[in-house]
């Protein structure tokens, strides 16, 4: 497009001009930097997989798939199996997701849908985000000293009255699945709340206006218009939260009881993969390192599967919504 010379302004004083050599260079450099950064992330992931896979290969060769389905962990007799750990990881994370996800989304609605004056909403948001800054160990201690004693009488009552339901099949002695899941739920709450808030805030204001214009009540607008429109983002928040729950280590190591058993009961001790890795690595011998690396691969695979499943559900849901 040719530039028309404007009256009264000399050619070199015009606002627009073709990019200079320096601009080109800066542009290229920035592009290279960004691309490099993106590749670096992929390379890093590849490298981690290579390292863990390489060290775990021996464990995979020697123990095979039986490793994933047996439940004995006996270093002395060299028998290893991680079924209870897989079970505990999924059970505790799903429970935490159910609790933390519900409260996170509810909180996001509360903070974005004009329930509060904006200044107060900022205070609330900051407080929720502060939860993310508390170290894992502190959560663990808090769980041990506050959540467990508070939960014990409730658990005892449930066991007495509803003990025939497998969920309440045991009493809570100390550490166990339920306190671990509650603390885990609080830990993933900030992630779920923050990302859900962003998703809800991204819904254009006119969508809500249109809903009100059609005569919906506030609740109808939130539940039938806002939430479905923001569903993709909220679902992403839940997947992120679930991922965080799967990998959480220290608080769980302190609270879950680290017992290799598979039980439906909420109050019995269990174990998780992340806790197994964290607790056994420092003193592990050669053989143990190999099987621990195998367990780490299993954890990676679970996380990957969860993400893929989340992605797939998302795609399906959005396709249905469009149809």
């Amino acid at each position: 497009m040719s530039v028309l010379p404007l009256p009264g302004i000399a050619l070199d004083q015009r606002v627009s001009r073709p990019p200079s050599r320096g601009d080109y260079l800066a542009d290229r450099a920035f592009r290279a930097l960004v691309q490099g950064g993106a590749w670096l992330v992929l390379l890093l992931l590849g490298w981690i997989l290579w390292e863990i896979g390489g060290k775990g290969a021996v464990g995979i060769r020697d123990y095979g798939l039986g490793f994933l389905t047996s439940s004995t962990w006996d270093v002395g007799r060299q028998q290893f199996g991680i079924l209870p750990h897989i079970w505990g990881t999924l059970y505790s994370s799903l429970l935490a997701l159910a609790i933390g996800g519900f409260f996170g989304v509810v909180m996001a609605i509360f903070l974005t849908q004009d329930f509060l004056p904006p200044q107060l909403a900022v205070v609330f948001r900051t407080v929720v985000e502060l939860l993310a800054a508390i170290p894992s160990v502190v959560y663990g201690l808090w769980g041990l000293f506050v959540v467990v004693p508070a939960m014990r009488p409730v658990a005892g009552w449930l066991f007495e009255k509803l003990g025939w339901i497998p969920l309440f099949g045991t009493t809570l002695s100390g550490p166990g699945l339920a306190p671990a899941a509650v603390v885990l739920a609080i830990m993933i709450l900030p992630t779920v709340a923050a990302v859900s808030q962003d998703a809800l805030r991204l819904v254009p204001y006119r969508v809500k206006e249109a809903a009100y214009g059609m005569g919906t009540t506030r609740w109808e607008a939130i539940l039938k218009v806002m939430l479905p429109t923001a569903a993709t983002g909220i679902f992403g928040a839940l997947v992120l939260g679930f991922g965080r729950a799967l990998g959480e280590t220290m608080a769980l190591a302190m609270l879950i009881g680290n017992s290799n058993q598979i039980s439906l009961s909420l109050f019995s001790p269990a174990n998780t993969l992340a806790a197994l890795l964290a607790l056994n690595f420092p003193e592990a011998g050669k053989r143990e390192v190999e099987v621990l690396m195998y367990a780490a691969l299993a954890l990676l695979a679970i996380t990957l599967l969860v993400n893929i499943a989340g992605e797939a559900i998302m795609t399906l849901a959005s396709r249905k919504a469009k149809a």
């Binding site: 004995t72 962990w73 006996d74 270093v75 002395g76 007799r77 028998q79 201690l141 041990l144 000293f145 467990v148 004693p149 045991t170 009493t171 002695s173 100390g174 550490p175 166990g176 190591a253 302190m254 009881g257 680290n258 017992s259 290799n260 058993q261 039980s263 009961s265 109050f267 019995s268 001790p269 806790a275 607790l279 056994n280 420092p282 003193e283 592990a284 011998g285």
Partner: protein, 343 residues
């Protein structure tokens, strides 16, 4: 104000730059890593030792016995420490040889949490073995009641608290249980981690502090941990029945009596699995420092010998007040003699 501080900083930097080459020649740094069980005592020793020797600093990292041995085999430290000593196979991997020196002793206690806080609960051998095997599950069990007449024991579940991480403490405890109970030996056996009975009344916590916190928070709990940790966390400790049939509490004369009952072989590696003697506390152990027999730097070797000398002399006086057992005099002599092989 600001300017002065900048000048001051510069002056300090100049001093450092000028002083450094001289310091680097004279000062010597010894690094070690390993067992966490004697860590409080070792750090007190090394701090005092470094304070006395101006150009000598000792750094010790409590990573765990297994990690210490690994560092030692990789030659990343000058010495290491381990509760489980070293196996022959591990020792054969060190060119020039390893000198194991027992430095102090410790006791593993059985802590409990019962309503009404009864002190000095008495536990016979077969009873505590039975509890950790998951065979005795109630505090009101007749065998516990029989050993403790006059103590009100409620009909309460026993929750066993064990170590979740692999540890020297577990090794010592399970070695003792294997020595006193045939069933234990055939079942879980001895090791830094073992396959514990499966029950929802067995829970595990990381580290000594995790175990003491869980015991304190769980009514009806019982668990094993190192004496010093139990003492400082104020966990109630049981009196245990020893081989001679006597009930002995930890922290008194029982520890030294147990160590004295064991004859150390020339390589100074011996386990006190089930000591004889009416006064001996049953779950007692030595803990070792590991040294290279051949050090590259003769100055370092001399410093290490000096360190051992200090730990054996003044260091031993610190042991009892920190909850550890001082070495018997004849052992001190033997260790001193053996330390000459650190060259």
């Amino acid at each position: 104000m600001k300017r002065t501080s900048v000048w001051g900083l510069l002056a300090v930097l100049c001093l450092f730059a000028a002083g450094n080459p001289v310091r680097a020649q004279e000062s010597l740094r010894l690094t070690g890593s390993g067992a966490t069980f004697p860590f409080p005592l070792y750090s007190a020793w090394f701090k005092a030792f470094s304070g006395k020797h101006k150009n000598l600093t000792v750094d010790y990292q409590g990573k765990g016995s297994g990690a210490g041995i690994r560092d030692f085999l990789n030659h990343t430290v000058d010495f290491a420490a381990s509760d489980a000593a070293m196996t022959d196979e591990e020792m054969s991997k060190v060119p020039g040889g390893v000198q194991l020196l027992p430095m102090t002793g410790g006791e593993i206690v059985i802590g409990y949490n019962l309503s009404g806080n009864p002190k000095n609960l008495k536990l016979p051998c077969d009873v505590y073995a039975g509890i950790f095997l998951g065979k005795i599950t109630k505090w009101s069990d007749p065998r516990i009641k029989a050993a403790n007449p006059g103590v009100a024991l409620a009909d309460q579940d026993i929750t066993v608290v064990r170590r979740a991480d692999s540890s020297g403490t577990t090794f010592v405890f399970t070695t003792h249980l294997s020595a006193i109970s045939e069933k234990w030996k055939k079942g879980p056996g001895a090791g830094t981690t073992v396959n514990w009975p499966k029950s929802d009344k067995f829970v595990a916590s990381p580290k000594n502090d995790g175990v003491s916190a869980t015991i304190k928070q769980t009514p009806g709990a019982i668990g094993y941990l190192e004496y010093a940790f139990a003492k400082f966390a104020k966990v109630e400790m049981a009196q245990l029945q020893n081989k001679a049939g006597q009930y002995v509490s930890a922290g008194g004369e029982g520890g030294p009596a147990a160590l004295a009952a064991v004859q150390l072989p020339p390589d100074l590696r011996a386990w006190v699995t089930d000591p004889d003697g009416p006064k001996a506390y049953p779950i007692t152990t030595y803990t070792w420092m590991l040294f290279y027999k051949e050090n590259k730097d003769p100055k370092k070797a001399a410093a290490l010998r000096e360190l051992v000398e200090y730990c054996l002399g003044e260091g031993q006086k610190l042991s009892p007040q920190m909850g550890y057992i001082p070495l018997p005099p004849n052992v001190v002599g033997a260790v001193k003699k053996a330390s000459a092989s650190i060259q």
